[in-house]
Amino acid sequence: MLLELQGITKKFGTLVANDSIDLVVKPGEVHCLLGENGAGKSTLMNVLYGLYEPTDGEILLDGKSVTFKGPGDAMAAGIGMVHQHFMLIPVFTVAENVALGDEFTRAGGLLDLEKTRAKIRDISDRYGFDVDPDALIEDLPVGVQQRVEIIKALVRNASVLILDEPTAVLTPQETDELIDIIGQLKAAGTAIVFISHKLREVRAVSDVITVIRRGAVVGSVDPSTSTTELANMMVGRQVSLSLNKAPANPGERTFQVRNLTVLSPTGQRLVDDVTFDIAEGEILAVAGVQGNGQTELTEAILGLQDHASGSIKLKGTELIGLKAKDVIRHGVGFVPEDRKVDGLVGTFSVAENLILNWYNEPPFAKGLAMKPSVVMANAKAKIDEYDVRTQSADSAVGTLSGGNQQKVVLARELSRPLNLFIASQPTRGVDVGSIEFLHKRIVQERDGGTPVMIVSTELDEISELADRIAVLHRGKLMGVVPGNTTRDVLGLMMAGMTADEALGQSAEEKQ
């Protein structure tokens, strides 16, 4: 089935998320949509899938104009979508999830799940998915959940399959398997729209690449286009992919983690016996696929995890057992991975957010009473220093752009003397201009002699900032390697090899 989008425009109030986008997807072709976070890729696909109504423009299937009132129409027309955040109901079984919306029934509207199970087994066998129709979704690992999503589309005979950032939650190995599956589907004549912001995998999987920037198409290119060129198209100007930072000058190792284990409330080991150090004036970057214990590691340091054991020492003080408040008072600065959820109070003003974890300390408060004038003066100074673009210090922080919100978080955390600075995904969803600024501030903090820990799922960012790299896989530390370690080795470690094994195998492959 030939899919054409003509002049699709989608506005949210004043925001133009998609600006007159044209796109042609042919059967048996993998068409990549490449663009930064927030470029409008997901919006476009939600329009195509009937979740959003386009403000303007047309969708054509085999030359015929169609309008989708909802996802039901899109599915009926043969369009399937695997969302970035899986659309699966955790307390339902695989079969129930697959059946939903397209159920087989017996007399009286009674469910007939047996037919659905048979279909699942059939597809599962054909593509080697190995999915049990009666397993509960909440018990399945993400890789399998993703396959359930693909089954959902295939059961409905999708001839166009949209994959929205499908590799964000996968290990490099699982990614390879997914690429394999994509190959099979393509061979069977399915058209695939592959959405990503990762240059490497886009080049590996696609037949055509369409680059989107700020809601508009920049151009369509061949997969043989060089990474640098793709990057330039994506961000719209020449970017130097390497930050000019001086070599580290590590001092004393004042931050020491020993045998740290973090359990989930149900007893799973989220962080498993992890040991490492960070020296003053050094950046340790923690790499790993999302959901391999990074969040829990940082939260355990902050005192936000209830079931942490082992030892975390900062300048000789044991942090385990301390409350978050006390950890912060010991000079730990923390940029959480999701600023909207954990870093900022959206309805609070910029000024209030700038003292969110320092509100009850002098000079902002005396006893119970806060000092609004001091809070305001502090806000004005930080807004200038960090070039936060806001109407005023009184504006709700939720009205700011992602980059400016992140500057508020960073300004708050870096504005007091630190003994340790932790930043999780410091530049996620941030525009390129701000990224450079944020990275520079982080390196500046290192050069001031603070031990710095960066957590990122982006290898580009890891390589750029790290003096040393620690890799986590399923909560276990696979090893700590130098900052210039190659991607191949890091990839193997992220998939569960120790540093030595990975170095060995990588060397072998090169020979």
Binding site: G13, V345, T347, A396
Partner: protein
Amino acid sequence: MSSQLQQGDSSRSVLHRIMGGSTLVAVLAVVLSIVLGGILIAVTDDRVAETSAYFFSRPGDMLTAAWEAASGAYIALFQGAIFNPRADTVAQAIRPLTETLTVATPLILAGLGVAIAFRTGLFNIGAQGQIILGATFAAWVGFTLELPPGLHLLIAVVAGFIGGALWGFIPGILKARTGAHEVIVTIMLNYVAVYLVAYLLFTPGFQNPGSSNPISPRLDDSALYPLLLGSGYRLHLGFLVAIAATIGVWWLLNRSTTGFELRAVGANPNAARTAGISVTKGYVVVMMIAGGLAGLAGVAQVAGTEKVLTGGIAASFGFDAITVALLGRSHPWGVFFAGLLFGAFRAGGVQMQTQTGTPIDIVLVVQSLIVLFIAAPPLVKAIFRIDQKKKKKTTKPDQSSEDITTTTAAGGVA
């Protein structure tokens, strides 16, 4: 992506919408509700029923009757709530206003209790039970202890606060420790409080000796709120306590570190926790304050107006307090004026019932309609044809806080 964010934020943004909607909508909501109440009065009026029989021959009769029924009731309500022009003396004429202030006192106090919990993200449906407990504690101090004047009252007030705080502590600690939903727990505790006081009023320490009715002895004079305007009026010192509490809650929320914590917990518990603010402590603290404020409403009842403890001491103040807090958008001064408004309805309603025979229940109807309409500004705007299309088509960013919450929620797209 965007709708996921929205979903998580939605309940909160709705709360903010209630707190931040425009004043125009509030005024229109009140007008609309009063009109609907008037229609209800007219429809059930005898004269209207009679005249409607010959509506097609003389429609004017019915319309006049309907107008007279509704306006008569509301005029009586106004005269009972604010000012009685037919009174012989000035003192008599302003008596209704003092009645309004008297009735408003427990509404304001309990309303503050509901509002401060709202601001911390908790639905305190339990003001009713907290009032009962506050009244019970204060009453016991009032009729059992023998203390010098002044001190006796002070101890009674403190005891009332503690009683309410205790009843607020239970849902607070359960929410903090076990995640039990405060709505359910507070609703259930309301009933437990009702049965508890019913039981107590049959036990020797509480039941008035020699009485077989469930009623306590009268509180000692030394434990009663002094009357503010002499014995001709019921207005008592409790009203000044309500004003002080309003100022206190305003200061606490907007100028204190505790208020900063509570507001942060209410607006984004995750961020609060990451910033080292204890969310669980916030829940416990705010529920105790909220309960304590409702307890003070109980004190106003038992040491101000009723002077004895009965099973019906809380009347329906606890539930009315929820509507007061909603109408006041959970802002202390908003609650204060909403409390005055509903106090006026109540005080006037009594007068209306005796004068025109219109049941006081109409006040409940008008009150709940007001809150419903305020909570749904688009409905009010649609009814009054306030043009929203213009707003949608312009490309200027919307400035009203109501829209900020929705655009923030949708901000994931950007």
